[in-house]
Symmetry: D2
Subunit: 449 residues, 4 copies
C-alpha cells in the first residue's frame, strides 16, 4: 500500500566505460533501440553519467580539460519507450527531483582550451581552466573560487525525444549547409561522425547507421529540445516535449548542479553525475492542440530565490571589445555584458578565469533588455550578491581578498589584474580598446626550453 | 519641519509643442545648456512628455502610428546640472517613483509600419497597429486587447548623462562606419541629423552644432546608458551612471508604464507622459573605483511578482522562419521565441498583432538560455499566466474567445488565424517554412479602386 | 474615448475639522446617510484624513500623542452606496492604489501613553513617543530612527460595509458582556459613546441614535472586517466584504504607509492622510456562494519583496517576562517575540522606544509557528535586514552607532541600553526576570521640584 | 581530494525498537551521554526516526493514531558533542539538507483523538483521523486527500542543545506551577515521567535520573528552542542555538516533509523518518554578543514560492464559536481563522477532517495581523491556491468533486457537509452559533449493538 520506493529504469555503472553501457548513447537517431519502458503516468528514476563520461577528475590541474576527447561526450541515458506515445503527441515530463550520487558529492566547471572546444569568451581567455565544486546538501562551494557559496538550481542540460527520420534529415541538411558556407576560423557546427558514436544496445548495422547519420548532441534544436541548457528547467518543472517516433524514445543526461544563463564557458555548468526522478504523461495530439513547434516548460516552485534588490545588473551593448559597432547583435551584446561583470568582480581579488568560471555556473540572470533600438542591442546580466560571503555592493573602491587560484592547464600562469593596475582596461574616454592579456601563455617557452 | 512636498525641477507643458520647450531636447550633446540644477543628495520630480511628443492619440486608428514623424521623437527632460559632479565620477540615480499624470491616465503601444520605423518582427508583421491602455492605479487594461490586466513595471526608457565631446566623437565615428558598410535594405543606424533637432535653451549656434553633431537618442550606448529600455529599471532601482562632463548633464524621458524584455515592436512599451521622482548622489571617482565602463543598476523591491510556476516559457533557436540555420545568433533565436509565443496564444482568439503588441508591453521575461552549443543559441521567453482572466495553461485544445481587434492603419484588414486553420503554420515535420501572411494588405487595392 | 481621469467620490478638507465634514463619520451604524453613490463595476478615488483627524503634528515632541483625544479618532470616509448591493451579497473591493497627498508627504508612528491608549508593550514602555516619517515616492525615512529606509506596504487600516441593525445588536451585546465581566485594570472594549460621535450628514435624531448605539471603530469584527489592520491588504489586493444593508454603505479610512504584523504600538503603522483608488463589484448572493462569515482577501502583486534569506527570525514562547508559564497563549508568545527583537536591535545603538516604533511600522512578518505543543505556543517575527543601511546579520558583537532619539512626551528622558550595560537583561541562566526600566520617568520629579 | 561523501554521525535502525537504540533519547536532560562527536565546522548526516518511533502505519485506518502511546514519542537522535562548545556560546546550525529515506518515501498526518492527544480544534473534531502522503522527489500527494499536490517545505520539528541543570530546574518549576494551578478539563503541560523515558546510552542510574527530572520533549522552550515546529526552518536555514552545557549536547528529530503555520492538528505535519545534513559552527560567547535569550534563525533560499496573489487569506477574530467575545486572545482568533478556511474549502467536496489534516500540513501562512485593537485580535491564514489541481478562487458557487475520505478510527462515520446543506453554519445574521456536528460519532452505538 503506497509507495515503497521509486523504480530505477536506467542504471549506469562507474566500473566500465560509458561506451560499453547499453543504457547510454551519444547520438540522436530514431533507430537506437529502447533501453527500457515507462508507463504513461509513471514516475521513475534515471541515472546519468556526467557529460564527459568521467574524463574530468577531482584534482587541481586542468590538463584533463585541455585534453578532453570531445568525440566521447554527452552520453545520454535512454532512449526509453513511453507507452502509448505516438508522433504528434506531447510528452509531459515533470522533473520531480535531481540529485548527485550520494558517494560522488562533487562536480566541475571548465573553460575549454580555445583549440579544443573553446567557449563564449575564448578570444580573450584561450586557456583551459577548471573549478571543482563540493556539494553539501543544497549548497556548493569550491576550493578554486573561495568566498562563494550558493544553492544549486539543479537541472538536466539535455532532455528530449528522438527525431524521426524526416526530422533528422532536416537537421543534417540545414546544419550541413551552414558548415558548407562557413568562412570562420572555427567550427560552426558538427556533422555526423562515426568516431566514438555509441548507439546503445544497437547491433553493428545500427551502430554504423547511427554513426553515419546520427545528429550530434551538442546543440539544442527547435523540433525536440535536446541540449537547451536552460537553467530554470529545474526541480518541479513541467516540460512539454514533441513526440516524433512511436514510444517517444526519451533520453536525458548532462546533469547540472547549477548554471548561469548562457552556460558561458561552454563546460560552464557545474557538471555532475546523478539521478533524475521524472514523471511521464502522454498528451495525445498535443502538438496540434497546443500549437507547438518547440518545447515549452513551466518552472518549478523551489528555485533558489533572492530579492530583486539583491542583484547587481550589468549592461552590455553590441559594440565589441575592439570598439566596433555591430548591428543589433545580441550575441556581441551578451559578450560585452559578461566582460562588464568580470571587470567589476576582479577588483575584489578574483582572477578573470575564476570569474569566467563563476559566472558560467552561478545562477546569474541573463536578459534581453532592448532589441529594437538600432544599432545597439542591449542585454543585462544580474549577479546575485548573496552568493558571496563578503559585500560586493557598489560602494567605492574594493578591497582585494586573497582568492587563491582556479586549476589551470600545465604551462599557464595567470597574472592577476587588480583595480587600477597596469593590466586593466580603464582607458574609458579613449574608446573600448582591448589592451590586457590577462593570461601570460608560456607553453611555447616552456616546451622550447 | 520635514518634507512639505518635493521640488519639481523640470516642468513640461501640454499646451505648446515639445520643440518649443526649453526644458526638453532630443539629441545627446555636451553643449546643450543646463535646464536646471540639482543638489548632491537632493530628491526632485521631473516631468516628461511621451516619447513621440504627443503625436499619438487615444483613439481606435493606427494612422497616427503609420504617419509618425520619427524626426520629432525622444524629447528628453534636461539636461540637469548635478552639483559637484565631474568627469570620472559616478552619478547614483535612485528612482523613487514614476507615475503617469493624474489627468492623463492612459498610454499606448504601437507597431510601426515596416516602411516607417518597423519593429523586431516587421518582416512578418509589416503594418502599423496600436493598443491604447487605460491606467487605474497600479493596473492597466486595453480595449484593444481584452481579457488582460496587469500591474505596471513602470520605468524610464531613457536616462543618462551627456557625452563629452570625446565620447560623442567615438559614437559618431563607429556608427558612421556601420552605416557606411551597410548592405541591408534597411537603416542600421541613424547619423546626426539637423532636421527637428532640439537643443533645449541653446541659441542658434548651439542648435546648429547640436543638429550637426548630436547623437540620436534611439540607441542605448555603452558609455552612458541612454535608451536602454530595461524593464526592471523600475521604482526603487539604483542606477550608477558614468559622468563625462562637469555637472553631469543628466537627462531622462521615454517613460513606460510597462514593457516586456526586448520592447519587441519598437514602440513596444506602454508609452506615456508622466512624472519621475529621483534622488541624486555623486560618487566621486566612481568610474575608477567601481571599474565601470557602462552603467550598472540594482532593481527595486516592488516589482510585480508572480510565482516561478506562473510562467509558461517558450524556447527559440537560431533557425530562422525559412528553416535556415544561423550560427549562434541570439537575435534570430529571440525572434523565433517570440513567434512560438504568438503561435501559442493565437489559439485563444487573439490576432497575431494583438499578441505582438501584448508581448511587447507585458512583463515577459526574455532570457539567454544557452549561448555555447554550436550552432544553436537558445533563448526563452516567460509569459506570466496571471495577466489573463482566463486559463492559458497548456492543458489541451484551446477555446477561442471573442477578442475584438487592435487599432490598425487605414486599409489593413486582419485575417484571424485560428488553431488548425488554413493560415496556420503547423507543417512541423516538413520544416519550419513560412507560409502564412497573417495580414492581408489591401492598401494599394483600396487606393487604386 | 478612454479614461480621462478617475472620479473622486469622497473629498475631504484640511481647512475644517473632521467632525464638520459630511463625508466623514466615526461610528459603525446602519442609519448614517450615504455620502455618495458608486456604480457596480466603477473605479473611484476616495480621500481620507489620518486616523486622528489631524491631531498629530510634524514636529519633535510627543506631547500631541500623549494628549491625543481618543474620542475624536478614526474618521472614515463614507458610507457610500454601491448600486445593486443587497444583504447577502459580497462586495468585491479591489484596491487599485493608495497614495499620500502630494503636498503632505509625511506620516507618523506613535506609542501612546499607558494612561491614554497604551499599546502592546505598555507594561514595559509606558511613555508616549513618536517618529515622523518622510515619504519620497515608494520609500520612507525618519529623522527619529536613522539608518533605516524602506518601501511602503501601503494599505487602508479600515474598510468594511455597515452592519445591519441585527448585526450591530450582536456586537453591542457581546462586547457589553466582556466589559461587564472585566476584572483587569484596563479597558477591554469600548462601548457606544455619544461624545464626539460623528454621523456624517445625519440630522440631530440620527446623530443621537448613532451616538447611543453606534459601534466604535477601534476593533475589527468578524461580520464585516473593519479595523483589521492587515498589512498585506495593499495595492492590488482584492477584498471580499459581506454586505449587510441595502447599498452596502461602504466606508474606508485609517490609511497606512506601512505597518508590521500586529501594529504593535497601537498607533503603530505609519499613519497618513491620502487617497485610495478602488474598483467595486457586487457578487450577488456571495455570502452563501462562498460560504463566508468573515471577509477574505487576495494580496496584490507589488508587495515589497526581500529574499527569504534576508530576514532574521526571532522566536517567542508563552513564558512571560516574569518567568511565568502560560498555557498556549499566543498573545504572550507574540509579546515575548517582540522583546527578543528589541534586545537584538538595541545592541546597534537604537533605544528601545525607537525599536518599538520601528517594529510597529516596518514590514515585519509575524507568524504563528506552533500552537499545539503544550504548554508553549511559539510565534516568530521576521525582521527584514535590507531596511537598514548597515549590516545587522548575527556575526558577533555589535558596534553601536549614533542613533539620535525619537520624539518623547515632555519630562521623559530615555536611558540608552547598550550591550552588556547594567540596564540590560542578560541574566539568562537565572531566569527571564524583568529588571530594567529603560525609561526613567521623571515627570513627577519635574513637576514637584 | 575534495569530498568523497559526508560522514553519518548518527545511524538509526528500523529493525529494533527506538528505545533500544543508544543513539536515540526522548527527554531533555544534561546527563544523557554523548552519542557521538562533531568537529567545529564539520558537516554531518544524522538519521532520524519519525516522531512516533514507528507507531503509525501506511494503511487506511486511523486506529493506530487513536491508540498511539504518547509516552513513546519524540525520539531524538543525539545528543552530540560539538567540539569546543561551552555554555554561553552560540551553536550555528546550518541545515544543508533534509530528505526522507529512499526506501520509505511516505509520511503521515494525524488528528489525535480528543481523549488521547487531541489537537487545536478537538472540541469540534474529536475523532482520530489520518492521511498518508506519498513522496516523489520534491512533491507529495495523498490518496486520502485527492486533487492536492505540493512541494515539501522540509524541516526538523525539533532541534536544540541540552539544558543545564539550572535551566532544567527552571523548566520543571514553572511548568509544575502551571500544572498545579490547572482548572481546565485537559492537560496543560506534561511533568517529568519515568514511563518509557529513554536516556540513550545512559546506565541505570542515569536512566532513573533522566526519568525523574528530564523535561518532556513536547513543548518548545525559550531557553533552547526544542520542539518549535517552525515550518520555514527548512533547507538552507541557519539557526543560532544557545549552548548551556559543555559540548553543546545537540539533538534533532521529528522531521517534517511539510507543515502549515501552527501544526494545527498536533500531529499536523507530514511526519517522516529521514536524514538531515547539518553544518555546525561554534560562535564563542555568542549569547552575550548577540544579546540572545532564545534561538534566532535565517530561512534558506529554496522555500517553495507562490506569488502573493496566489493565496486566499482568511480572517479570524477573538470571538469564539459560541459567539463569545474574548479580550485580545490570539489563540481564539487563530482557531476562528482555521474554521473560516474549513468552511470555504468544504464547498468543494472535502470533508472537514480532510481539510483539518490538509491545513495542518500544507504550507499555509499564519499571520498575526492586528493585536492592539481592543477587544479583537485579528489573525489571517493564507491558503496557497496552486496546491490544488482545480480552481479554488472565489468566483461563485463551488462545484463539489468526489473527494473520497481520509482514514478514520474504527466506528466513526463522517457526514459530509456541503454548501447550503442542513449541517452547515450559515446563520450569519443570527450570530456565530455552533450548530453542526460534522462527525456523527457512532462508537457507542456500534459497541452496544
Amino acid at each position: 500500500m503506497g509507495l515503497s520506493g521509486i523504480r530505477t529504469v536506467g542504471k549506469v555503472s562507474f566500473d566500465k566505460p560509458a561506451d560499453e553501457q547499453e543504457v547510454l548513447h551519444n547520438r540522436w537517431h530514431p533507430d537506437i533501440p529502447f533501453a527500457g519502458t515507462i508507463k504513461d503516468g509513471e514516475t521513475v528514476k534515471i541515472e546519468c553519467v556526467d557529460w564527459t563520461g568521467g574524463q574530468i577528475g577531482n584534482n587541481d590541474s586542468a590538463d584533463d580539460v585541455r585534453n578532453v576527447d570531445l568525440t566521447k561526450i554527452h552520453y545520454l541515458t535512454g532512449p526509453f519507450e513511453v507507452e502509448g506515445a505516438q508522433p504528434g503527441d506531447m510528452l509531459l515530463v515533470e522533473i520531480m527531483d535531481v540529485q548527485p550520487f550520494q558517494d560522488q558529492p562533487w562536480g566541475f566547471t571548465g573553460v575549454f582550451d580555445k583549440n579544443n572546444g573553446g567557449g563564449f569568451l575564448d578570444e580573450i581567455y584561450p586557456s583551459a581552466a577548471k573549478a571543482i565544486w563540493d556539494f553539501e546538501g543544497i549548497y556548493c562551494t569550491s576550493r578554486h573560487i573561495p568566498h562563494v557559496k550558493f544553492a544549486g538550481l539543479i537541472h538536466p542540460g539535455i532532455l528530449g525525444c528522438a527525431p524521426s527520420a524526416e526530422v533528422l534529415e532536416i537537421w543534417n541538411q540545414r546544419e550541413g549547409e551552414l558548415i558548407a558556407a562557413n568562412k570562420l576560423d572555427r567550427d560552426v557546427a558538427l556533422p555526423p561522425n562515426p568516431v566514438c558514436a555509441h548507439a546503445g544496445s544497437g547491433d553493428a548495422a545500427i551502430k554504423e547507421k547511427v554513426g553515419k547519420e546520427g545528429a550530434r548532441t551538442v546543440p539544442g534544436r527547435p523540433e525536440h529540445g535536446g541540449n537547451c541548457d536552460i537553467k530554470n528547467l529545474s526541480r518541479g518543472s513541467k516540460v512539454y516535449l514533441p513526440v516524433h517516433v512511436p514510444g517517444a524514445k526519451f533520453s536525458v543526461g548532462d546533469l547540472h548542479f547549477s548554471q548561469g544563463d548562457g552556460e558561458i564557458s561552454f563546460c560552464g555548468a557545474i557538471e555532475m553525475a546523478g539521478i533524475i526522478t521524472i514523471n511521464f504523461k502522454v498528451m495525445k495530439n498535443g502538438m496540434a492542440d497546443l500549437g507547438m513547434k518547440s518545447p515549452i516548460y513551466i518552472p518549478g516552485p523551489v528555485e533558489p530565490q533572492f530579492g530583486p534588490g539583491r542583484y547587481i545588473y550589468f549592461e552590455g551593448f553590441s559594440v565589441d571589445e575592439h570598439g566596433k559597432q555591430h548591428y543589433m547583435d545580441v550575441t556581441v551584446a551578451y559578450r560585452q555584458t559578461c566582460r562588464r561583470l568580470i571587470e567589476y568582480l576582479r577588483r575584489f581579488g578574483y582572477s578573470d578565469y575564476q570569474i569566467y568560471l563563476l559566472m558560467s555556473c552561478a545562477p546569474i540572470q541573463g536578459h534581453v533588455a532592448g532589441i529594437v533600438d538600432i544599432p545597439n542591442a542591449c542585454t543585462t546580466i544580474g549577479l546575485p550578491v548573496d552568493i558571496f560571503d563578503f559585500d560586493i555592493l557598489p560602494s567605492g573602491p574594493a578591497k582585494a581578498l586573497e582568492m587563491g587560484t582556479c586549476a589551470f592547464e600545465t604551462g599557464v600562469k595567470e597574472g592577476k589584474v587588480t583595480a587600477g593596475g597596469k593590466n586593466s582596461e580603464h582607458s574609458f574616454g579613449g574608446g573600448l580598446t582591448h589592451k590586457a592579456t590577462v593570461v601570460e601563455k608560456v607553453k611555447d617557452a616552456v616546451s622550447s626550453s
